[in-house]
């Protein structure tokens, strides 16, 4: 090893230090504090903070808040992930070729990504109103149609998940387009020469080789949806009842009431969900990439 190389090796941390400091200051320490506070009785009511074991989790479970919020969050994330990837993959296949018209359409589908999630929530809240434009349009075919999309448990959850899909599909579409364009055209041509149909070319060639883009998109959409808050807050505020009370909404309510320990406990549950589902999911999809 030359002297210059040794010096460079010794000084690597000069370059890493800023990133390391930011990671420790804004991620590691808050994360560790959150873990600690989740097991304390921290509230705004008293000055003292003392460890209270699993009391926060038990109390939230007994009040029916924890179990419901986990169920709603996972269901929301699954709907958002499936719909987002299905829609985005379909759009990517349609808009793969770079033409002027396709570029214009890609821009159009990307616009929702740039809109604030709160604004998206308010816009869709109005569109989905019983007397809103959507029902008016349906009313042309089904006279008097006035279904409250956000007013009943099942449809409210699917509706807010759909808004998430509408908001982020443009971004995932670009990922799939990049993935499709990375497939060597010679492979597709070879499949065509071998007599593969359009469906076989997609399913046996393109979809297999899209595995890295698929892994990225599935993981990002699913884990992103586990953190849902703003769209739900802007449309249903977690209601009606507890139908759309995702973990972040439940956490927000605990926090608003001054129960910071319980809020931290719910925040920790989100982290556990993300890690507990995320790591196996990534491992599974990476294995699939290798097989592909």
């Amino acid at each position: 090893m030359t002297g210059a190389t040794r010096t460079a090796t010794r000084r690597w941390w000069h370059f890493a230090a800023p990133a390391l400091a930011l990671t420790i200051g804004f991620f590691l320490i808050p994360f560790l504090l959150n873990v600690y506070f989740a097991f304390t009785d921290w509230t705004g009511f008293t000055a003292a903070i003392a460890p209270n074991g699993l009391d926060n989790f038990i109390g939230l479970a007994e009040a029916g808040i924890l179990g419901n919020a986990i169920r709603v969050t996972v269901f929301y994330a699954v709907i958002a992930m499936i719909l987002q990837n299905a829609v985005s993959l379909g759009l990517a296949l349609l808009l793969q070729r770079t033409t002027a018209f396709n570029s214009w359409l890609r821009t159009l589908f990307f616009i929702p990504v740039l809109i604030s999630p709160l604004a998206a929530g308010y816009i869709w809240g109005a569109l989905l109103s019983p007397v809103g434009p959507l029902n008016q349009a349906i009313g042309l075919v089904v006279p008097g149609f006035d279904f409250a999309w956000l007013g009943s448990g099942g449809s409210a959850l699917v509706s807010v998940a759909f808004i998430d899909v509408w908001k982020w599909s443009g971004l995932v579409t670009l990922v799939y387009i990049a993935g499709l364009n990375a497939i060597p055209p010679s492979l597709i041509e070879a499949a065509m020469i071998d007599g593969a149909s359009a469906w076989q070319r997609f399913w046996r060639v393109k979809f297999r080789l899209l595995a890295p883009a698929f892994t990225f998109s599935v993981v990002v959409t699913f884990l992103g949806a586990l953190n849902a808050f703003d769209i739900v807050q802007a449309t249903t505020r977690g209601g009606p009842g507890a139908a759309t009370t995702v973990l972040n909404i439940a956490m927000f309510r605990q926090y608003t009431g001054g129960f910071f320990g319980s809020a931290s406990a719910l925040s920790l549950v989100i982290t556990i969900l993300v890690v507990g589902i995320g790591i196996p999911l990534i491992a599974f999809l990476r294995r699939r990439e290798v097989e592909a």
């Binding site: 705004g44 009511f45 007013g151 448990g153 009842g241 507890a242 139908a243 129960f259 319980s262």
Partner: protein, 443 residues
Amino acid sequence: MRRRIAIIGLVSATVLTLGACSNPNSGGGGGTAVADGTAKVQAKELTVWVNAVELEAVKAVYKRFGDKYGVKMNIVEMPTDNFESGVQTRWASGERPDVLEYHATSLFWALNPEQNLYDLSKMPFASRAGDIYKDAGSHNGKVYAAITDTPSLFGIFYNKDVFTRNGLNIPQTFADLEQVCATLRQKDPNAIPIWESGGSAWPVQILSGLMYMGSAQQSENWAQQVTDKKTTFNAPGGPFVAGLNQYKKFKDTGCFNKDATTAKFEDALPALAKGQAAMVALPTGLADMIADQFGGDRAKTAQHIGFAYPSATGAVSIWAPNVAGTWYVPKTGNGDRESTALAFIQYATGEGYQTYVDESGTFPLLEGAQPPKGGYSGLAKEFNDAYETSTAYAFNSNLSGFNVEFPNYVTGILSGSETPEGAAEKSQKVFEQAAKLAKLPGW
């Protein structure tokens, strides 16, 4: 070796960080000024946190005090939608205003008043407020809030024209309400008997809980019994479950608007004014917004709109303190500013109070003040009569934890995903959890 030292260093730093971590709510620096009505203006500037939706008459109090004493009033408006969480976020991080406008319900207990707020018990206004501090603005027997605005009453605004047209009497009980609903459905099917606003969530707790519980609250201070463990939300045959069942009955018999789960309270106001809805349960604090439907003409509003306050077994108006005009003086550590903040409270509750009453046009809360010079405007006389005749403190005000979740249980009943009994059971559990965490006496 070096790596081991680095790891030990990182772990030590983390442990020290955790160990050094203390509750910002325990800050409580300062507290050197004297809160006995003799505070002097000693600073040239005050920061005031207020709700973005502020009454004009309250805004005028800041201006008059600032102009008179040469104090620059920095009014920091907190967005209404996230007002409580916005205040909590800043408060929990140790930030403090000189004057805080906030709820006088148990929500302010979460600011750790003993540690962080001035005890205003010895200020002159505290002895001129009747019994109000028995329920609101106080904690463990000490007064922390300076409440100046007329309390909001919760009841039914009804369209007089619809009532007259159908020969209806003003409801005194929930049985009367049921009768009004049945008559309207039969004689005037185009009129919505009761407009409910599930999309806004908070209004649904008025009819289902606040109003029905008025009788139990007035006769036996039901909420205090829950706090004292003498009864529970889900007690068989108890008034809470009965109220939710009555609410469900209204829904099941078609008394509500078809879009009750998603409608907003803003939509209720024109519907009421036009007679499309016969009744709407809302707080009197929205009277000006109702008057806006009549071009801001309060007299004309009173001709067409009335205020009723039925409860389970008799007429009881439900009151709760307004956020507007309810002030606290946090301990900031700056004696001059703390003294000036106390001087502001002295002004708002003393020499400036009558002007405020005259401008607001509502009845005075503090003894010694006269009714507004121009007389009561619009519905204010009806509100005054309701408050004087029969009133009870809103039962949910000091039930920590429950008051945040209650609207969601009711929207659950509205949408059919929740039963009254299930909601009552959850209410009890959520209150028990909160009471333990808040370390309420006996919990």
